[in-house]
């Protein structure tokens, strides 16, 4: 690697926004992430399976109910709709084959560009903006929880209750 020129600022490793989102999800103490992909959009990045989406996978933490995770996921996707984003934010519970060693359902959060025909630079920009927005939403959910409040889904959005 090329060392920075004398007198210049020390090179700061660039951390993709995804690392912050993964950290934010783990900070909720509701989920434990085990896999993530920031989306690989260049032509030479492509493999047999589609990699052009951001994909974070996690288990529910111990003593956390499925309903709590569902509320978090619905809060994320509902709030994401209020942002001006060119990505779709989707949340799933995935059923796994019972042959798998860890066969309990896993949860998946996906962020994908609205238009697959956009060029890779635009998709990268849109995805990074989407990841940043979702990180803010997850941090907001954590803050609400730390304040001793709970999120309750209501028609059209969410309410906070103690």
């Amino acid at each position: 690697m090329k060392s920075p020129a004398k007198g210049s600022q020390k090179a700061v490793p660039k951390v993709r926004p995804l690392a912050q989102l993964v950290q934010a999800l783990n900070d909720t103490n509701l989920v434990d992430t085990f896999s993530s992909c920031q989306g690989n959009l260049e032509g030479y990045d492509q493999q047999e399976m589609d990699q052009t989406i951001v994909d974070i996978r996690f288990y529910g933490s111990k003593m956390v109910s499925d309903n709590d995770i569902q509320t978090l996921m619905e809060f994320i996707i509902t709030k994401a709709m209020t942002y001006d984003l060119e990505v779709f934010v989707d949340a799933y519970k995935k059923y796994k084959p019972h042959q798998h060693i860890l066969h309990s359902p896993i949860y998946v959060l996906k962020i994908r560009p609205c238009n697959s025909f956009d060029d890779s630079l635009k998709k990268r920009k849109d995805i990074d903006a989407g990841v940043k927005a979702v990180t803010e939403i997850v941090q907001l959910a954590t803050k609400i929880k730390e304040e001793g409040m709970r999120l309750i889904p209501i028609r059209g959005g969410f309410a906070k209750t103690s």
Binding site: E74, M81, P97, Q99, R155, G156
Partner: protein
């Protein structure tokens, strides 16, 4: 801009017939009596079929019927993906519960089954053939799961 006729709604959604290659799976799912399908796609692989959203997989989407139990539906989905998994096919089958924003008109979670070719670089003809075989296999598995469920032999974990 197209001029609307009297009484015509802008962006009106018009139901279209179920695509023929996915119809057997849709019918088999409806026979479980646990769900109601509302959307399906048989997968579109030719270059000229591509739209802004990825269509390179087959999927069926459905709601759980109010009287059906979620555990029962989950047992059927887990059975189908578990039995599909060891089969020698060039497809991957996945089953999901998809969460819906609270702001939606109907915010009940939906369920979906997807069948995706393992290698998206394969020729469209091969992907079509693999998908058709995958749909056939999935249809048989759903029928078996339905029968086992009716006989009370499907284990709900």
């Amino acid at each position: 801009m197209k001029k609307l006729k009297k009484g015509e709604q802008p962006m009106a959604w018009k139901p279209r017939p179920i695509e023929p290659k996915i119809k057997p799976l849709v019918d088999a799912l409806m026979q479980t009596k646990l769900l109601k399908t509302f959307s399906s796609c048989q997968g579109h692989y030719r270059g000229t079929d591509q739209l802004q959203q990825d269509r390179n997989f087959a999927d069926v989407r459905f709601w759980k019927l109010p009287k059906a139990s979620e555990k029962e539906l989950q047992a059927i989905l887990v059975y189908v993906v578990s039995e599909f998994w060891p089969q020698k096919t060039d497809m991957t089958m996945e089953a999901f519960k998809k969460y819906i924003p609270s702001a939606a008109v109907n915010d009940d979670p939906i369920y979906l089954i997807t069948l995706t070719p393992l290698d998206r670089f394969d020729h469209p003809h091969k992907k079509r053939k693999d998908t058709d075989n995958g749909i056939k296999l999935a249809t048989e598995l759903v029928k078996i799961a339905t029968r086992l469920n009716k006989e009370g032999k499907l284990v709900v974990k």
